[in-house]
Amino acid sequence: MDEKKVRDIVVPGEEIVAEGKPGRGVFYEGEKMYSMYLGIVDVRSGYVNVIPLSGCYIPKKGDKVIGKVIDLAPMNWVVDINAPYYAPLHVNDVPWRVGFGDTGRFLEIGDVILAKVSNVNEMGQVWITLKEQGLRKLEGGHLIHISPSKVPRVIGKGGSMIQLLKDSTNCRIYVGQNGTIWISGEPDGIVKVIKAIRMIEREAHTYGLTDRVKEFLERGDE
């Protein structure tokens, strides 16, 4: 371990006894710090955080997310990004020239896109964009959802876990920060990736996970 990680599970309202400034997922009442979530206490860089073990996606500016178009308007699309709020995608935020009322010619209801969160305001409203290298409509492939809090584990340190999945299955995989994952490849490979991701999801809070996933991918069964 190159840094101190405490993997204690706490429940909402449970007192946290740890040295550090209050970070995310905690609140103060009086002199004491408490957890907001069912989660894991994580102390790093002088901050005490609680990382939820489950819950919906809370968008952050700069996050790459995978969303589904659920409605059309003359000047924008409405995209479900698995957050508490739908995200509008404005015609100015796509790489195409879209005429007024012409949105349906470019993206239809049900289309899946890889987008970036361009802004989030205090009210929780979210805007997304497709105007950046690599962002696009995703054709074909398969979609699965995981808890957004487990995304970092699926990606792994420096992308190691996702690289491992790609290499051993020959699949193309995009992991949205919102917990939506797009997988494209041979059916056998997709099945294997899903099984491995479900395993990561189940055991996300444990140590030594990468080795176990590696073993599984080599062995081919659980």
């Binding site: 204690d8 429940v11 309202g13 449970e14 069912l38 489950s54 508490p84 709020y85 009210m123």
Partner: protein, 245 residues
């Protein structure tokens, strides 16, 4: 209280209750979380003969739009009894009792949730009573609390429901069906266990001040035990190998 009259003796000569419990003894309770895969969070509870399942969806944009609150999430608990949950078939759908219970349960759950974090959204909590054996609202609020935690909803505390009442002139904890039908009073409560705040409080029957405070203290005391079960249940879902290596 149903106000039914009966010759049934609810407390015997040894001070034991009809199901063999002591006055301050809870019925057996079993809890489990993560039972509805499709939901954002869920839980199941068996409490005496009660079998209740709860599922949470959200926070998600609240519809119809006029129900949205601009500064917070609304919590919509729906307490529903299955038609087959009671001896005589219950007509499906909301009746006046379930409308009232849904309201007070929604309010009690709201008190524990950081609703201000999600303006304009709804957090839907569905509580389905599959089998009823008295105390369904307090069991329902307990299982809903587990489902909310399982859904990753930010809360300042878990919530624990518990009831006490009076049967045969004795103050008792956690009334069963016979005691509820033929007893003299019922005091359902929900507690935020960390602070001891009272989030739900109802009462019906006939109690003196001393009997009433006695009953409330009994329920609050038992709530601590149920709280510990809640914590164990939530931690067990992710438990086992957590602290390995």
């Amino acid at each position: 209280m149903m106000g039914m009259k009966s010759d049934i003796r609810l407390i015997d000569d040894n001070g034991l209750r009809i199901d063999g419990r002591l006055p301050n003894q809870l019925r057996p309770i079993k809890m489990e979380v993560g039972v509805v895969k499709r939901a954002d969070g869920s839980a199941y509870i068996e409490w005496g003969g009660n079998k209740i399942i709860a599922a949470v969806y959200g926070p998600r944009e609240a519809y119809p739009k006029h129900v949205q609150e601009s500064d917070r999430a609304i919590v919509r608990a729906r307490y529903n009894m299955a038609a087959f949950s009671v001896d005589e078939r219950k007509r499906p759908g909301p009746d006046r009792r379930s409308v009232e219970l849904s309201k007070v349960i929604s309010e009690a759950l709201t008190s524990a949730i950081f609703v201000e974090k999600f303006p304009r959204t709804a957090i839907d909590v569905y509580i389905e009573v599959l089998q009823a054996d008295a105390g369904t609202r307090v069991a329902g609020i307990t299982v809903a609390s587990l489902a909310l935690a399982d859904a990753g909803i930010p809360m300042r505390d878990l919530i624990v429901g518990c009831a006490a009442g009076k049967v045969d002139d004795v103050v008792v904890l956690d009334l069963n069906k016979e005691e509820d039908n033929f007893g003299q009073a019922d005091v359902p409560m929900a507690i935020l266990p960390r602070t001891g705040e009272i989030a739900l409080l109802q009462m019906d029957g006939d109690l003196t001040y001393d009997e009433l405070t006695n009953a409330m203290e009994m329920a609050m005391d038992a709530a601590k035990k149920i709280y510990n079960m809640e914590i164990e249940t939530l931690k067990a879902k992710y438990g086992g190998d957590v602290n390995e290596q």
